[in-house]
Every structure is written in C-alpha cells, then in structure tokens.
C-alpha cells in the first residue's frame, strides 16, 4: 500500500485517455463492487492468507483425526494393546511390549522409525547373552570406561530382542506398554479441548464483565469493578490456579474452570477499553439521541464492532491455556496421567528420556506444530479482522 502511495508522484497522466462516464449523481452513489458483509470480507481475506489457511486446515485435520483415532480405540490410553501372537495364539506379554521404539512399515530406511536404539553397555552384559541375544544387535564401538571396564555401544533391534518382529508401533510404546500413537492423539484431543473450552469460558466471562465495566465506564460501578480486577490480577496466576484447583475434584472440568477463571482478566480489560472507545463514537451518540435502549446500544451497536478483537483474543488464549495445562502437569496438578494431555506426555517423556527419547520428542514436536498452527492462524485472523489493517 505504501509503495503504491509513493509511486503516485511518478505516474504521468495522459488526459486524452480520460472521458466523462456520467454526470448523474444517482449513478455515482451506486456501489459497483459486490457488497460484502464484515464476516464474509474477513473470511475472504483470511483465505487469501495462505499460511493462515493452511494452519486452519491443519488444526481442523489434527483435531478431527485425533477424535477419530481415540474414538476407534476405546480405553487404549490406559490399557496396553492386547495382541495375540499369530504363531502360538498366546497373548503377547506386557513385558515384551514395554518401551518399544517407533517403527513404521516401509520407512525403516529413514533411520528414525526402524525400531532400533543405541545403548551403552559393559561388555560383560553382552557376553552372557541372557538379555541381549547375539543376533539382535550390532556393536558400534567399544572402549574403556571411567571405572576401568570395557563399555560397548550397540545398535539394538528392540523388536527382535522382544520377539515381536511382526508388530509395528508407529510412535512406539511407553514404560507401561501403552501405545504412544493413541496416547499422543488423545493428548492432542484433550489439550485442544482444554484450550478451546478454557478460551470459551474466559471469553464469555471477560466479555460480560468487560461490557458492564465499559458501558458504565467512569462511574462508581466501573471503578469498583476495575479495582477488583486489579486485585485479582495481581495474584500470581500459578498460585491462583493451585488455590482454585484445591477446591475442586481434579480432572478435565476443574482444569477448564480454573484456567478460565485465571484467563478472563485480559479479555475483560480489552472489552472495557473497546467499549470506552466506541461509546463516544458518533453512531452510538446518534442512536442514543434517537432513544435506543441500553440493551440495543450494547448488543446492536457496540458489540458487533468489537467482536473481531474478541475472536483474535480467543485464538491467542487457546495456546496460553494449553501452555498453562502443560506447566501444571509439570508440578503434578495437570490432568491425571491416565488421561493423556500433551503436557503429561512431555513430562513423562522427560523422565524417560535416557532410554526412550522418542517419548519426549514426539509429543514435543506435535505440541510445537499445534502451537505453531494456532499462532499462525491467530496472526492471520488478526490481519483479516482488524479494521486498521484492512486493505493491506
């Protein structure tokens, strides 16, 4: 835009190319373009933003996929897979399915999803062949360790070692033999649901509170309400979360309520500020003079103007809620571990990282992708919805 403006001076206009189309005033008032509503226009501009579109599709896909995966395999976030050995008809023991690294059929050549791990062991442990049969590993290198014993790095085929070569675990299994693939998707589902619902919760609360404040801006009501926000906001949110959670039965609902109750302040402040801004605008004043009711003023005139801001804020508060849930799992106050969330999975991964690094990296990468997508979508939405950025 600014480039175009700058270029005006260089344009030379040939008058002969111009002609008068019409001098009828009615015609010039007519709108020649297609009439677009605010939402339609915004959506059109959002779709013009390739990154935001891709992000939107990605989030939708991940969300639907996670619901699909978790609903087709019930209970599997808790119970290990029950698999029969096709040769013997016996159940495969839980032990053989424990901490199995990822393996994907046809992708073994990549080196990441081949079901093999590197391990550092003393040579004696290899020689007795109890735990590590000779054909399950290749020796990478051997050298003298610090305590004077010979230590060997081996490239171990865990599937062969456990005798489950016919199986493929896409994301591996964890220390309780639970399928990481299902758990990661359950984690995505739960984290996104927590994020979304907490965002809805704090938006609703924030909008109601902020609207009341904003509409009565400057009066005693507003003053008292803002003082309350100041007090409430000055309590560190982690303490507030701990306190709120201690009054409720831990779980999904409690987390959403607690996250919602700590997140609404920002929304309320923003909504109030927007109300104060629009209250003095001519169109509100005009309808007030005609005698519009308070209700009508709030909902018909002011609210539509700030809905764009609210949507943007909502999109930004989803990743915030997901982050907070992850932080809470870090101190043991997140979802119970039998209900996976990306936070609990990553925490478990941190404790297992020396043996099963994939338990840390896979949920981390998935979380980062989800956050990236939501943040990019939020950026796109801001560009599309913010009237100031229109046309740029």
């Amino acid at each position: 835009m600014n480039n175009m403006k700058n270029d005006f001076s260089k344009i030379k206009i040939d008058k002969s190319k111009l002609k008068l189309v019409s001098n009828r005033i009615e015609e010039s008032e007519e709108i020649s373009g297609v009439s677009l509503g605010y939402w339609k226009d915004s959506f059109r501009r959002l779709l013009h933003n390739k990154i935001a579109t891709i992000s939107l599709i990605l989030i939708g896909f991940i969300f639907i996929f996670s619901i699909f995966i978790t609903s087709t395999t019930p209970h599997s976030t808790v119970i290990e897979p029950q698999i029969k050995d096709p040769d013997t008809g016996q159940m495969i023991s839980k032990k053989s399915l424990t901490s199995v690294p990822p393996r994907i059929k046809g992708l073994e050549w990549l080196g990441w999803f081949d079901g093999r791990v590197d391990k550092l062991l003393p040579k004696i442990a290899l020689e007795n062949e109890v735990k590590y049969p000779k054909d399950t590993y290749e020796i990478v290198e051997c050298e003298e360790g610090n305590t004077g014993k010979e230590m060997c790095t081996i490239d171990l085929d865990v599937y062969k070692q456990n005798g489950i070569e016919q199986l493929y675990f896409t994301f591996g299994t964890d220390q309780l033999a639970r399928d990481n693939w299902t758990r990661v998707w359950a984690g995505v589902r739960n984290s996104l649901a927590i994020g979304l619902l907490a965002a809805v919760f704090d938006i609703v609360m924030g909008v109601i509170y902020g609207s009341i404040c904003g509409f009565y801006g400057g009066t005693k009501v507003d003053n008292i309400m803002m003082r309350f926000i100041e007090i409430y906001g000055s309590i560190p949110s982690i303490v507030l979360l701990i306190l709120l959670l201690s009054f409720m039965d831990r779980g999904f609902g409690a987390l959403i309520i607690a996250l919602g109750l700590t997140g609404w302040i920002g929304v309320a402040r923003m909504v109030r500020a927007q109300y104060l801004r629009y209250r003095e605008h001519d169109f509100v004043l005009a309808s007030r003079t005609i005698g519009a009711s308070t209700k009508r003023l709030i909902f018909k005139h002011i609210f539509p103007n700030i809905i764009g801001q609210i949507v943007i804020l909502a999109t930004f508060s989803i990743p915030a809620a997901i982050f907070y849930e992850a932080s809470l799992s870090f101190i043991g106050l997140g979802l119970p571990t039998d209900q996976a969330s990306l936070g609990t999975l990553i925490n478990n991964g941190i404790t297992q990282r020396s043996v099963s690094a994939y338990l840390l990296w896979i949920p981390t990468i998935v979380l980062s992708i989800v956050m990236l997508a939501i943040n990019l979508l939020a950026n796109g939405l801001r560009d599309a919805l913010d009237p100031r950025l229109r046309g740029r």
Binding site: L46, P336, T351
Partner: protein, 614 residues
Amino acid sequence: MKKVLSILFVLTLAILLAGCKGDKEISGSGMIQDVNVRRAISMAIDKAYYTDTILANESYPADYYIPYNFYGGIGDNGEGVDFRVRAEQVFGDFLPFTKYDMPAGSAESQSPSGYNHYNIEEAKQLWEDSRKRFGIEKDETVVFKMLVHNTASWTSLYDHVKAEIEKNLTGTKIKIISVTFGEKLDKAPTGDFDILFSGWGPDYMDPITYLDLFVTGNGHNNIHYSNPEYDYLINQAKIGAFQGQERLDAYVRAEKILLQDDVALLPIFQSNSVGLRRTQLQNFYTQSVGPDYILKWVSWDTTDDAWAAKEADLKAARIDGDETVLKLLETSKIPDMASFTTTDQVSFYNLAQINEGLMVAGNPQSNEQYLPGMAESYTVSEDGKVYTFTLREDQPWVKSDGTQYNNEVVTAEDFVFAWRKLADPRVASEYSYLLETIGVKGWEIAYEDVTDMTDAEIDTELAKLGVEATGEFELTVTLNTAADYFLGMMSFPSFYPVNEAFYTSLGEDYGKTLTPENLLYNGAYYLSNWDNNGHTLQKSDLYWDKDTVSIDKVIYELVESAEPEVQVQMYLDGDIDSVILRTGALVETYGARSDVRTTGSTTAWYLEFNINNH
C-alpha cells in the same frame, strides 16, 4: 467465519459426547465391603511387572505387609528371627505360598511369600461371582475411587494398578483422585475413597510399628478396620502378655488375619533402591531403622589397587594428603536442627552424625544393631521397666569452631532437659508421640490441655516424667511397660541430649537453619559450614571415639530440584560420590556398571480398602 465457529462448536460438543461412556456407572463403595471383591482386586494386579520393569531396582513384589529383612522378634533358640521367615514356617504348611521370581542378576532368586498371590483366573472367577451376588447388570460399570497423592514418581504405579484392575476384572473402572500430599492427609480420615495408597516405614525394631496402625481406633486407621481378634493379639503383645516366640507368632497370626482373612490391605511392593556409588567406599550401608547412613563407620579404600587409572584425579580430590573428603548430594534443605522439635528425615539424618544419644547405631559389618554411645554402660531392672545408664564422663560439648563450649561435658541433666522439652505441651513437638511408643512413665503430659495451667504448674507436671538424673553421670529411665526395642530407640535423634545453658542463651533460635553456631555438638562430626549451597561436616577431635572415624570432611551439596538424570550426571562428573537411580529408565541405562549398589529398605507400600465405610 460463522461457519468456522459453528464447526468448532459442533466439534467441541462431539468431544464432550465422546467423553461420556454409554455404560451406566455405579459406585463401588458398597461392593468394597465384600471380602471376595477385595480378594479379587488383590489377585488381579501383576506386581512383579511394576517392580521388574518400571522400577527395575530389585524391589520385592509384596503379598505381605511386614517387610522382608525386618527383625520379627526372638525365636525359640533365643536369637532374632526374620518376620517373613517365621511367617512361612507357621503358615507355609496349609497355605500354599506362591512366590515371584526375581529378575536375573538379583541378590535373591525369589521374593518372599505372602497372601493373595497374583492369579488372574481366580480373580476373574471371584469377581464374576461377586457381580452376580450384588446383582450387577452386564452393561453396568463399577467405579472404585482411588485416593492418591500427586508425586510424579508414583504416577506409573497408579496407572499400572488402574490398567491391571480394569483389564482383568471386566466392568470395573478405577477413578484416580490425585491430590497434593497435604490434601491427602486431610481427605483420608474423612473416608471419601474406596482405595487409598499408603506407605509406612518403621520407627523402631518391632513389628508393632506396622501392625499397630490397624488396631481399632488408631489415628492412622483411615479405613476403620476393626477385628476383635486382631485387636486382642496386638494389645496383649503391647502390654507384654506374650513373650519370646509366642509374641512373634501372635504378630504372624495378626498379619494373616489382616491380609488373608479380611483382605484389608493390598500390599504392592517392598522398595529397594539401586544406586551408583564409588567402589572404594567402605561400610556405606543403609540401616533399616533410623537415619540412612552412619558416617562414623564409613571410610575410603586408600590402596592404589582400588582406584582405576582413569580415576587418578578423583582419588587426588578425595584423599588430599592426610585429609579424606566425601562428597554427597542433598536434595532438600535441613529445615530444623533442634533435636526435640524436628520432624523430617534430612534433619534426623544430619543430627545422627553431629550428636549422639545414649546408644549409637552399630557398625554395619558387625551384627550389633546398636552399641552404647553416650552411655558407657547400663543396667535393667528385673521387670525390664527401669533402665539405669552410666554416662561417659569425658565427652565435651563442642562449638561450631571445633573447640569446647565453656569447659562443659555431656551430663545426665542434658538428657533430662531434652526429654522434658520433647514432652513439653508448650513446645508441642510432633515427635512427642515417641514417648508414648517407648512407654515412658508420665508421657501423658505431652497430650494434656494446659491452657489453664501456669508455667510453674506445667514444670511440676513435667518433673514427673520418668527420666531422672540420679547422679551427674547417671540417668534413670522408668517405663510403664517393658519393651525390647527401647534401647534401639535411644539412638533416635529425638532422645539426644541438649545443653540447657546453651539453649537458654538462644531460646527459639536454637538449631535454626543456616546457623551452625546455634548448635552444640557431641557426635563424631560438627557443622563447620552451613549455607544456601549445602553444609560441611568436619570430624570432631574432641569426640570420645574419634579413632574410629575415618573421613575427615563430608561435603553436602544442596541441589533442591535436580532431575534424576541430572543427579546421575553429577555423579559421573565426580561432583558427588553416591547417587540413587530414581527411574527405571536410569537403571536400564546404568544398571550394568561395576559401581552399582543395591540397597534394601523396610518401607512397605500398599493400598488400603475402605472396609468400614464410615
């Protein structure tokens, strides 16, 4: 945009719907009253998977309550007998005991025996029968509430228990109620649970320390378990009605009632730990009761053969000329060093190094549990109720610079002062219950309501406590009942002496954090340095038994929030000399090294069934 919003809204609804199960859920708090339901649950859990695969630290999968390697009492031949060994002798004939195989390479090939061994078929049968008896429909799910505390290291256990029960007993659901430790203490007595996760370590060397918990009316009996026969056995044993093997057998019978007849508990495991420790460290063993280690007995192997070529730097750092140094990790601060008020393991542990009681824990290589410490000798009256200790006359009180305090030595009055502080209701020491445990005459004062009494009146009452200085170096203790664990308890920090004049000069500041000068020492070590980074124990040259003490300086580095992996890295970097491998993953990685050590413990971990549903 509206479309997107509505799609999101529909999806949100979809998740909520997906979260709701079609099955009808009913509470299991009625069913848990049934002994066969409890037995079914007990038999449905594969404990060996938890100990072998998740912990991987040679912990014993336990079908029993009183731990293995725990002194049970005196057998027929007049010698101490292991409780589990005796239990197997008594009931092994008519209860076919099944044992768990321990993983290859463990010290023992099989775990000790117990009751209600893992048996899926029988568990399923019992459960199906119970369902029929209670008239539970096919589509109904029975929900049991399991109350646990949210410490990260336990979550694997909770998930495992949940998964095993839900997998093996069809139509069950375990609802994990995860709260903070403090909240659990609050919630457990209210009885708002069906299953409760607990652990218990011994206070003293007698099975009573475990069995007393489930006597009717005991404050720790959260499940309100009550069985007249059980109460009879324990209460009679407590007042000394049974002696010798009879007493041991009474305990064995009581445990059987608790586990086999009533299935009040579901034992999970007896914890051991695997750690890395310098191979050159000698006599660094844990004790089953009391502080983990007694540094007095620990020494370095200084011979050249013991140290590998790559360890030359380390050796130079540890054995520096004549001074030997030991470096250890401390993961939590010492909160309080006043022996009569402190409550936590870190403080007790450190107090046991810097102060000494009447008795002292014995050298781990000998068979003696305890040796005379401040007491040079003692006599016991015939009924076992009056102990007279003759104290050493040459043990000075040492200041934090290693010199003697005011030319004072430890006297009988110092013990009397400390014990009265412990019993003083104005002090309200958390550990005053130990006075009741050993049964000192007049312990009731500790629990009395003294709001209406004057200080002088309280002091008169305290003077009636059964501890007396009958001479400058003679201490007489009078007990209500004879207890053979009394002497062992005398090595516990709560009973250590305190110098009255020194205490009075400081008041409440005595033993305060980070003030080594606010303490007096009479043990093998004294605190020469104590700050936010840790503390240093320096060998005391004025200690009566200083020739036994080998290590000159023990440096503790305080790293409060170190992850288990980081702790191991500190060991590998040579910052510390001993570390515990806290996760199965770490044992898997480092478990085959030559400096791995397994340490036993006598802490029992179990689930309690809420039998009397309040």
